[in-house]
């Protein structure tokens, strides 16, 4: 009985898998030709081939596409470097890398034409929103997590209220707040562009979630560590930055990486407030009247790209957890 069920299941999976492969590969059209695509009964990957420049770079000037391309590769290389080596010179590499990326993206020097950030789009925008979102939210989240565990009731109340408020509402409402409310908060004559507003919302959002991951690490530190630090006569800041945080952050790495993966996925929501991130360029590429009706292919492609990034991060996180498990008693 069990074996028959197993065999039936196996056959069903085989059949569905074959149907999918038949559609996705055997009967698929790879050349960028809408007529051939409509005539064929398989997937139309020609759509992706035709639109790959728009999808990868958005509305960045066509002749200058090598610049966001190079910047994306550089940014990914910096992330990989950070994952593999935790040394002081990685910080220096980031500083230098970000300057190069800034020069590449904006231009205006070294003979590169200036490109305003309204025209940035595609993969580089997703990567930049993630990078700056995490880089600025992380220190903020440490302050929030420490504040939440503080013995001073006012500070604790402010931090708890902030974290719970942000975690209780959807990201969209925070993005709406930044895109429609923020202009009202600023004094007359001061305005922040759309990209920066979205970035600000993402930072505020990420800080609350990262703070909870850091708090988990802080809670895992045994009480005697605090007491030993007190016995040595260390003050609050010495105790926190020399004894508690180094241990807490090491424990918090796996949940922090998990939060980072979630955040990378969440940056796709900036599409709703009209920014050209990777998902948004894919959606816009479907608006071409000659190429309507290939949404299934387009979003499968989007899923594959996001999956590659997120899955590599989660493999890395798993490796970290395994090595942490080995070093602990």
């Amino acid at each position: 009985m069990k074996r028959a069920l197993n065999a039936a299941l196996f056959l069903l999976i085989l059949f569905l898998g074959w149907r999918f492969l038949d559609w996705a590969l055997v009967r698929a059209v790879w050349q960028p030709d809408p007529q051939a695509c409509r005539a064929a009964s398989g997937a139309c990957w020609g759509f992706i081939v035709e639109k790959h420049r728009l999808i990868a770079f958005g509305t960045y000037p066509y002749e200058e596409h090598w610049r966001p391309g190079l910047a994306s590769l550089l940014l990914i290389a910096l992330w990989v470097l950070t994952a593999l080596r935790q040394r002081w010179w990685v910080v220096a590499a980031w500083a230098a890398g970000l300057v190069v990326i800034g020069i590449l993206m904006w231009g205006g020097v070294l003979g590169l034409p200036y490109v305003e950030n309204e025209r940035w789009g595609g993969l580089i925008l997703t990567l930049l929103l993630t990078t700056f979102g995490l880089a600025i939210a992380f220190p903020l989240s440490i302050c929030l997590a420490l504040g939440r565990r503080s013995e001073l009731p006012v500070i604790r109340a402010v931090c708890v209220a902030y974290i719970e408020l942000i975690r209780g509402v959807p990201l969209i409402s925070v993005l709406f707040m930044a895109s429609v409310m923020l202009p009202l908060f600023l004094p007359a004559g001061v305005s922040i562009d759309k990209l920066l507003r979205a970035q600000l919302a993402l930072i505020l959002f990420a800080a609350a979630y990262l703070a909870e991951a850091v708090r988990g690490g802080l809670q895992a530190i045994p009480k005697h560590q605090y007491e030993a630090a007190d016995a040595l006569g260390l003050g609050y800041f010495q105790k926190t930055f020399l004894i508690v945080l180094p241990q807490a952050l090491r424990i918090a790495v796996p949940p922090l990486v998990g939060t980072c993966i979630g955040f990378f996925k969440d940056t796709s929501l900036v599409l709703i407030i009209g920014l050209f991130d990777l998902l948004s360029t894919i959606k816009v590429s479907l608006n071409d009247p000659a190429w309507t009706g290939f949404g299934v292919e387009a979003y499968l492609f989007a899923a594959a790209v996001y999956f590659i990034f997120c899955y590599s991060m989660s493999l890395y996180s798993r490796r970290l957890e395994a090595s942490a498990g080995r070093s602990l008693p």
């Binding site: 509402v169 959807p170 949404g295 996001y306 989660s314």
Partner: protein
């Protein structure tokens, strides 16, 4: 004490600065603050609503329709995600390596692709791959799958082709169906991990002891393992339910008229940005707190 007073003063000063700026800006843009606009005529139609609504009704009623639509998709979503997630979580622990690998693949893939991409995918699949009403798929008698939605018979009547679309019986719009499928499948992957971890947390001695008593597999699960696993499962499950409700706000991207979508339209029409965002945040905070309270009560009962 001095630090606290300083921190409190800093927060208050920042808040006062923002409020002052906002009042000046509202004055300059001639936007009257307050919730009086809620009783004005909305003037827009809503694609689907749980109760009678027309363009002549007030913004308040429009927002109520949106809230009802949020619940209409969230509650079945929670039910489907729980059933699917529990099944997949148990498959991951089963001795059958085929089921195990398949469910692991499901969890890995679904968790590593943004929900918004998945929603767009399901919406594209429904509107592009399904046939027009005239060539509707009929998986069951009286049930029609089309690119205009899913039609099924109810006690009130059966769907019939009239002109270009079906009328009568029950109908699910493509937007609703895409959102419900997307939310259920996405959240199920997270619930599966929670269920797996919960069941795995029960020591193997408990299984062995129950079997040694001569209990059958289903009784072991129901009376020995489940009560212990649920204690581990319930707290993280609560946050998944909350996430599903919050994620239902992505409806705005595929055109399902949920609360956020209607509030967004209201903000665009009236310019009442602060009130609109405040309504969204207040509603979701209330829902979050209510679900948390409900699950805390359930969790307390389990102990």
């Amino acid at each position: 004490m001095a630090i606290q007073a300083f921190a409190a003063a800093l927060v208050l000063a920042a808040a006062a600065y923002l409020v002052f700026n906002t009042l000046a800006n509202l004055e300059a843009r001639r936007i009257a603050s307050g919730f009086a606009f809620l009783w004005r005529e909305a003037g827009f139609e809503i694609g689907e609503s749980a109760f009678a609504y027309g363009a002549a009704d007030s913004y308040l009623r429009a927002l109520a329709v949106g809230l009802a639509n949020t619940f209409k998709v969230s509650l079945p979503g929670i039910a489907f995600a729980t059933v699917l997630g529990t099944a997949i979580g148990l498959f991951r622990l089963s001795g059958n390596s085929l089921l195990k690998n398949l469910s692991s693949g499901y969890v890995e893939f679904i968790r590593n692709v943004p929900l918004l991409v998945q929603l767009f995918f399901w919406y594209a699949l429904i509107t592009e791959a399904l046939p027009a009403p005239r060539e509707a798929l009929k998986p069951l008698p009286g049930v029609f799958l089309t690119n205009r939605g899913l039609f099924f018979p109810t006690f009130a009547g059966v769907p019939e082709l009239q002109g270009f679309n079906f009328a009568g019986g029950g109908a699910l719009s493509p937007e609703f169906a895409a959102l419900l499928i997307g939310l259920s499948i996405y959240t199920a992957a997270f619930i599966a991990e929670i269920v797996r971890a919960g069941v795995a947390s029960v020591p193997s001695g408990q299984w062995e002891a129950a079997r040694a008593l001569g209990l059958r597999q289903q009784h072991v699960l129901r009376h020995v393992v489940a009560p212990q696993a649920l204690r581990v499962i319930v707290p993280p499950l609560t946050s998944q339910y909350l996430n599903l409700v919050k994620n239902s706000s992505l409806a705005v991207a595929i055109g399902y008229p949920d609360l956020v979508s209607i509030a967004n339209t209201t903000i665009n029409q009236t310019g009442q940005a602060i009130e609109g965002v405040a309504i969204i945040m207040a509603v979701y905070l209330t829902i979050s707190l209510a679900i948390a309270a409900l699950m805390n009560w359930y969790n307390a009962r389990l102990r």
